[in-house]
């Protein structure tokens, strides 16, 4: 099969935003391949409290087309920087209860160092650049996270 650089990059990445729960096993199955010796998976989970205040649930909102584009930039940067075989980035939107998983990043590589470094870069960068917003809903109010100084 002939592939140019772009197509190759596409087949190595799976980027998705969805309001449905993520199936972790499917994500891992997708990144796994016989060429890989290690997979690093980061799962964000909804915590029950922020600064001692009890969280009831979170609400995630995305500027979807731009968020997808920024997530693709992250995946492309990962592929350019590290010898990885596959990277998957899923983010949920909508209402999530405590314990649910808003984000999963899975990176498979021949060697584990690249998988760890790439996965960490991906989540760190996602939190800086991807237009997704999170509102924490408490018993007595709600806060858009990081909005104010």
């Amino acid at each position: 099969m002939l592939m140019n650089g772009d197509n190759k990059s596409v087949s190595m990445t799976d980027i998705r935003i969805s309001d449905l729960p993520l199936n972790i096993q499917s994500c891992i199955d997708w990144v796994q391949s016989p060429e890989s010796g290690g997979i690093d998976v980061f799962l964000g989970t909804v915590r029950n409290a922020t600064k001692g205040r009890k969280v009831q649930h979170l609400e995630f909102e995305a500027y979807e087309p731009m968020a997808i584009a920024e997530m693709k930039k992250i995946a492309d940067a990962v592929i350019a920087k590290w010898p990885v075989n596959k990277i998957l980035i899923y983010h949920r939107t909508g209402k999530l209860a405590v314990g649910e998983i808003p984000v999963i990043i899975a990176v498979a590589a021949a060697h584990r160092g690249a998988a760890f470094d790439a996965c960490r870069y991906a989540i760190d960068t996602l939190k800086e650049t991807v237009p997704i917003w999170k509102k924490e809903v408490f018993e007595d109010g709600e806060v858009w996270v990081a909005a104010h100084p």
Binding site: G44, F60, E61, A62, Y63, P65, M66, A67, A69, H91, P102, V103, I123, L126, K127, E128, T129, V130, P131, I132, W133, K134, K135, W144, V145, A146, A147, H148, P149
Partner: protein, 79 residues
């Protein structure tokens, strides 16, 4: 006059997911940012906010037309 998409806290501040903003074609992103801040003063209370034009973060001297898709991007907090 153009439409501006808003998200998160910016949606609450501006009172809608899409707002009409009276700017002239050829305004810079920096100029539009100032105009938005004077129209919606509570935007100044944010830690920061960016503008996106056609799905890309805009730089300050970038020129904007009313055919562009413009969005206010308050501080992101995904993950």
């Amino acid at each position: 006059m153009g439409k501006v998409l808003t998200f998160g806290i910016a949606k609450e501040i501006t009172g809608g997911g899409v707002v009409d903003v009276p700017f002239e074609n050829g305004i810079t992103a920096g100029g539009l940012r100032t105009l938005l801040q004077s129209t919606y003063p509570r935007l100044k209370e944010l830690k920061s906010f960016a503008l996106a034009v056609n799905g890309e973060y805009a730089v300050a001297d970038q020129l904007i037309n009313d055919t562009d898709e413009i969005a206010i991007i308050p501080p992101v907090s995904g993950g």
